[in-house]
């Protein structure tokens, strides 16, 4: 059974090695400062107590106030999994360091996050759009990509049939 290492635990152990590298420790994830990211990830990969050699998933999230990139890591040796995050506050040109030097498997996933969310991964050798074509306007997974009429943002309103649906943008013109 995989042990899911909580963000607080992983934040503690990172803190022991790299003081001031951790920004936040939540039950579900730990947030690492952007400029220390590659260092921390490399240590997590190589440290015999962690050995998170497998990058399970890399994805970006638009949190409206900030962008974040989530790294779901996995250690085959200890059968552990954990989640590390990094944030970028720049709304227009978010950018975080690339994880490709740590895990080659980040290549395509970073391209995907760049393509759909517009997060630049500094240091990715081949950061091009992947699903959409070069020159596609905007980044579709951003919450402000196409605003609904009335300033409503997709994904934030209520649905018909739900109590209080009449308050939502849906169903009312």
């Amino acid at each position: 059974m995989t042990t899911y290492v909580t963000g607080i635990q992983i934040a503690d152990s990172i803190d022991g090695k790299f003081p001031d590298a951790v920004e936040d420790g939540q039950p579900e994830f730990a947030v690492v400062k952007s400029d220390r990211l590659v260092e921390v990830l490399t240590w997590l990969r190589d440290d015999p107590d962690h050995e998170y050699k497998f990058l399970s998933s890399l994805t970006g999230v638009d949190r409206i106030q900030w962008f974040e990139v989530a790294y779901h890591l996995e250690s085959f040796k200890h059968n552990r999994a954990t989640t590390i995050k990094v944030r970028s506050d720049d709304r227009e040109n978010p950018s975080v360091p690339s994880a490709v030097p740590v895990w080659l498997g980040a290549q395509l996933q970073e391209r995907e996050a760049y393509d759909l969310l517009g997060i630049r991964f500094e240091g990715n050798p081949d950061l091009r759009r992947i699903f959409l074509w070069e020159g596609f306007a905007g980044f579709p997974l951003r919450k402000d990509y196409l605003n609904l009429p009335g300033g409503k943002m997709p994904g934030l309103e209520r649905f018909p049939g739900e109590p209080g649906a009449e308050l939502s943008g849906r169903g009312t013109e």
Binding site: E28, S56, L104, W133, F159
Partner: protein
């Protein structure tokens, strides 16, 4: 004296018999040798992650059918598991077994296709695929009995499965299980030591375990490189912790190993199915969700709208193609704030360039076949 030659760019795809859909491979060739490879994808990009942000959690289940359309059950399962994790829902035991059975049937169907298509990519003229279709057909019949659909199944629900299996299902499943060992023996006889398949696939597209782990490949590709890693064993979900089965691993990390592993996994799936059918408990197949239901008076199988607590969840399962993960971020609203699919087909393609360079154009097709992509899942 050396012969100079000019590089030659060939577009394999988007319309090509062997790219498994609309997928394009730009190969730069020197003679027949590949010196550079570039993947161009997105021809089937349907922006599911964006669409899912506008639909309720229940409405999103059909999307998960349409990513990996050859393994819709496992797609369903991973998604509903992510939502259940987010909402802390316990699923009834019978539903867990049903999920396991369906996922393993789906694995047999999907691996059969993968093996057949791989032989096709090696140049066999449709015969293996057609033989593999025979089993897949039977399995699809079982799915049809259980949920009414054959390809895009939409069977799993958050908290269970959409409905219990009908009475006739069990005898038919047992009949299928009785047939399958003979079929598998036939495939092993015909394909495993086929000289031409061996000549075409051994030593081709080699990934060492270090490379495989670094490239984040999963499923048969990772196991082909000799890493004994199977989420069903490492992090058992559904009812896998109650069942006994082995992980199939390869020793050389080449295309042939991936093919051999798929053949071996057919038998392991069969083992799981036999145990699971015997152990199947009785009881409800769906957990009643405490949240608001829409239409009072109707059977509350799955509420149309509910609001999970704020938070996030990443659930992964071993789909036939590898680690299929759903990462869901909830802001407490009726639809996911972020809905991300960690699709094995897409990530397994990462090392394709490295595997293809240095081999010939014919090898590139075999390597692509051994990766076993479904373009619906690559592009999403």
């Amino acid at each position: 004296m050396t012969l100079k030659s000019e590089p030659f760019v060939v577009n394999v795809g988007p319309q090509h018999p062997s790219t498994h859909g609309v997928f394009r491979l730009r190969l730069t060739l020197d003679g027949e040798k590949i010196i550079d490879a570039d993947m161009v994808m997105g021809y089937l990009h349907r922006s599911m992650e964006k669409l899912a942000e506008e639909r309720t959690y229940t409405q999103n289940i059909p999307f998960t059918d349409r990513t990996d359309y050859l393994a819709a059950m496992t797609g369903n399962l991973a998604y509903v598991m992510a939502v259940e994790k987010l909402m802390n829902i316990e699923v009834p035991e019978r539903a867990q077994f049903l999920r396991t059975i369906m996922a393993e049937l789906q694995r047999i169907a999907s691996h059969s296709m993968a093996i057949g298509i791989f032989a096709n990519d090696c140049g066999a003229w449709q015969t293996p695929v057609m033989h593999m279709f025979r089993d897949r057909e039977k399995i699809l019949d079982l799915f049809e009995m259980a949920c009414g659909a054959r390809l895009t199944l939409n069977y799993m629900r958050i908290g269970g499965v959409s409905r219990d299996i009908p009475d006739e299902w069990m005898p038919q499943a047992h009949k299928l299980l009785k047939d399958l060992p003979n079929r598998f023996a036939e495939y092993e006889d015909l394909l495993l030591s086929n000289e031409i398949i061996i000549a075409r696939s051994r030593g081709i597209g080699v990934l060492t375990p270090e490379q495989a782990i670094a490239y984040s490949v999963s499923g048969p590709m990772l196991r082909g490189s000799g890493v004994a890693w199977d989420i069903r064993k490492a992090d058992p979900y559904a009812a896998y912790d109650k069942l006994d089965f082995d992980i199939a691993v390869g020793t050389n990390g080449d295309a042939y190993d991936r093919f051999v592993i798929r053949l071996a996994e057919l038998r392991q799936s069969l083992r799981i199915l036999e145990q699971a059918l015997d152990m199947m408990p009785t009881g409800p197949v769906h957990e009643r969700l405490g949240t608001s239901t829409v239409q009072p008076g109707t059977q509350p199988i799955a509420p149309l709208v509910f609001r999970p607590p704020v938070g996030e969840a990443y659930a992964r399962i071993e789909s036939p193609r590898g680690e299929l993960g759903y990462y869901i971020v909830s802001d407490g609203g009726p639809s996911p704030f972020r809905f991300h699919i960690r699709s094995p087909s897409f990530i397994n393609l990462t090392p394709l360039k490295q595997m293809a360079i240095g081999s010939t154009i014919a090898d590139a097709i075999v390597i692509l076949g051994s990766v076993d992509i479904v373009v619906g899942e690559v592009d999403r």
